[in-house]
């Protein structure tokens, strides 16, 4: 055996550059099928996702609510482009870093904030918390906190759509860490074999908690599709227009052919894994580099450059969103906690067995 081979298993001792972005698209929004008036709502929503989480983090630090809090900040272009490209009745499912996607899908900031606070007005009646946002009415199937466990569920949503011939497709998001789970590999095989209309999207933000992708995954992530003959590709998740460009064709094709697709979206989270993360695993330089192409700033600059809206109009929207988020906090704080009997609702309970004596 080569000498080097017996020194270690997982490579250690070095901060790697965690992820490299493909070049952003140079196409104009109009070329990508977007009208001028489409852009401001997108900007507004991305800013809402950002502001919601900044405020949520403040409230968490003030001790207003408990549990885990994983922030999506930096990845907003992914959620915004997804809901833009999909039909409203296509099915979305994701992991636990999920506030952004819910807000993008149209779950109200009030219902989201109330869920963080564990109030009965929350999108999961306060029973799920930050990691378990559900809004099934809007075809938003959760918020799942066991890494990789919802990948089969995404395929299952697609299976039911195919069975019912309803024309809907499913899109299933997960982190780079989830790619290493067996569930992904089993699901990919069946999704391809059964030709399920599902887009699998790995949001490769460079890290699984404190472990860079190169330290946890062999080979390129999107290539995992190849072994199953699944079409796959890479997209720039830090740029809304690039994401639209990549997703549009994929979504169309999946709907058309009923074959799955695996997209690796290269993105970055600006905050720690959760609220308690010293982040020693990455360099300040890397963080700064990715901050320099913040997806929200980028879209704002584009809107200004293309003279779609003025700075003043943008400022007004920002102010409006700031207020909306403050109102959501107010709503959450004033909402009632779930009633005690909720503990035994939404779950089977044997009525005549004295479990609780």
């Amino acid at each position: 055996m080569a000498k080097k081979a017996d020194e270690t298993f997982t490579p250690t001792g070095k901060v790697y550059k965690s992820t490299t972005l493909p070049k952003p698209t140079r196409k104009k929004h109009t070329t990508l099928g977007l009208k001028d008036e489409d852009l401001m709502p997108v900007f507004r929503n991305m800013y809402l996702q950002r502001r919601f989480e900044e405020r949520a983090a403040q409230m968490y630090q003030k001790g207003k609510f408990g549990g885990f809090l994983h922030l999506y900040i930096g990845q907003e272009a992914v959620s915004a482009s997804t809901v833009h490209v999909l039909n409203d009745d296509d099915d979305i499912i994701s992991a636990y870093r999920v506030h952004g996607l819910a807000l993008a899908r149209g779950t109200s900031p009030n219902a989201c904030m109330a869920e963080l606070y564990g109030k009965k007005t929350g999108c999961s009646k306060g029973k799920g918390g930050s990691m378990h946002f559900f809004d099934v009415e809007r075809h938003f199937w959760g918020g799942h906190a066991i890494v990789g466990a919802h990948i089969p569920l995404g395929a299952g949503l697609a299976m039911a759509n195919k069975y019912k011939k309803n024309g809907r497709i499913a899109i299933c998001f997960f982190g780079d860490g989830a790619v290493d789970q067996g569930s992904l590999n089993e699901t990919f095989n069946m999704a391809q074999l059964w030709k399920l209309p599902v887009v699998f999207v790995v949001e490769n933000n460079g890290y699984s908690m404190g472990t860079s992708v190169e330290r946890h995954s062999a080979g390129q992530l999107h290539k995992r599709g190849e072994a199953y003959g699944m079409k796959n590709g890479v997209a720039n998740g830090m740029d809304f227009l690039s994401m639209v460009e990549s997703l549009k064709d994929v979504v169309e094709e999946v709907r058309e052919t009923s074959e799955p697709y695996f997209m690796e979206v290269k993105t970055y989270r600006y905050r720690g894994h959760s609220m308690s993360d010293p982040q020693n695993y990455r360099t300040k330089d890397e963080l700064e580099e990715f901050r320099s192409f913040d997806p929200i700033e980028r879209l704002k600059d584009y809107i200004l450059k293309e003279k779609i809206q003025t700075q003043k109009e943008i400022d007004e929207v920002i102010e409006e969103v700031d207020q909306e988020v403050l109102d959501a906090i107010d709503f959450a704080e004033k909402s009632d906690a779930p009633d005690d009997h909720e503990l035994f609702e939404d779950i089977y309970v044997q009525e005549d067995f004295p479990f609780h004596k």
């Binding site: 270690t8 609510f65 946890h216 695993y281």
Partner: protein, 326 residues
């Protein structure tokens, strides 16, 4: 003696054993470079290097099974689960392979492996992150199950676990890692199957393990103010279980309350309760009571979660029931 945190006690047990036996390795998510999600394995990568302290991908099924295979072939792996909620993904390897291969092979091989990490709830983390697994694992022949409540016990029991030639499930708690206790500087081990009377009393026996020991302790302190002296037994290992110590105590107190963070149906408390009714029937002055989480998953909302998790008040209520003070 020196004061040690729970996490330090566990770390010392691993480090001391690893220094003596180079077939012992530690692997799990974030155990090496990140120094452990809960800092249990702090500095262990520095001391032992990446060959023996190994970061794994989020592949619980894979690394549990790789651990079992390595154990079959001469290593003594310690597998850290970030929490036991995630071990569920690897349960096939634990329940079908680790627990059964020695038996199925007619004893041709042994599986000296420790699966360790935090168990049960740790605040409002939601339904999938809050399950107490001791009853489930104890149900499976071939597994030994330990759930310590204090640093002293944890260190001695973990050393025993690492030296054991059978698979051991070693349960901890995020909420206990910071707990401090004086522990001996010199080497010691604690055998499995030996409980400990952690508080003496004549009026009622409270059996409580792991995090629930601390709930029982708080209840006992309150009860003492009312003149009720509880005897608290911490069984320390769930399997093997020190039935004798419990029975002997009940012969003195004639009453028993079991506190267990598992769900009630077919849980540890049910098993202990059965043995008590069979072996101490004539000594009981009241039916045995148990305090557990209810037969419902953990809710997120704070008010519901507080309702869900056993607390000292519930233990006091149960004691009042068995002492007919309600």
């Amino acid at each position: 003696m020196s004061e040690k945190q729970f996490r330090e006690a566990i770390r010392e047990a691993m480090v001391e054993e690893m220094r003596k036996d180079d077939t012992i390795i530690l692997m799990g998510e974030e155990v090496a470079e990140y120094n452990g999600a809960y800092k249990v394995s702090q500095n262990m990568l520095d001391e032992f290097g990446g060959k023996r302290v190994i970061d794994t991908p989020i592949s619980e099924l894979g690394f549990s099974g790789i651990g079992v295979g390595a154990a079959m072939n001469g290593l003594r792996p310690i597998i850290e689960f970030m929490t036991f909620n995630f071990a569920v993904v690897g349960m096939d390897q634990i329940i079908n392979n680790a627990a059964k291969i020695r038996y199925m092979s007619g004893g041709q091989l042994k599986i000296p492996i420790v699966f360790r990490g935090p168990n049960a709830s740790a605040g409002q983390l939601g339904a999938t992150h809050s399950v107490a697994f001791e009853s489930l694992y104890a149900h499976i022949p071939g597994l030994k199950v330990v759930y310590a409540s204090e640093p002293y016990d944890a260190k001695g029991l973990l050393k025993t676990a690492i030296r054991d030639d059978d698979p051991v499930i070693f349960l901890e708690s995020e909420q206990m890692y910071g707990l401090k206790q004086e522990i001996p500087d010199e080497e010691y081990t604690i055998p499995f199957g030996k409980g400990k009377i952690k508080r003496e009393g004549d009026d009622v026996t409270i059996v409580a393990h792991g995090k629930m020991y601390h709930v029982a302790k708080k209840a006992a302190e309150e009860l003492a103010k009312d003149g009720v002296e509880a005897e608290i037994i911490d069984p320390r290992s769930m399997k093997p279980f020190d039935f004798e110590m419990v029975i002997e105590s009940i012969k003195k107190t004639n009453r028993c309350v079991i506190v267990d963070e598992s769900h009630p149906f077919a849980g540890m408390a049910a098993e202990i309760g059965f043995i008590i009714q069979r072996d101490a029937f004539d000594y009981l002055d009241a039916p045995v009571q148990r305090v557990t989480v209810p037969d419902a998953p953990a809710p997120f909302a704070k008010n519901l979660f507080d309702l869900w998790l056993p607390d000292a008040k519930q233990v006091i209520d149960a004691v009042n029931t068995v002492t007919y003070r309600n």
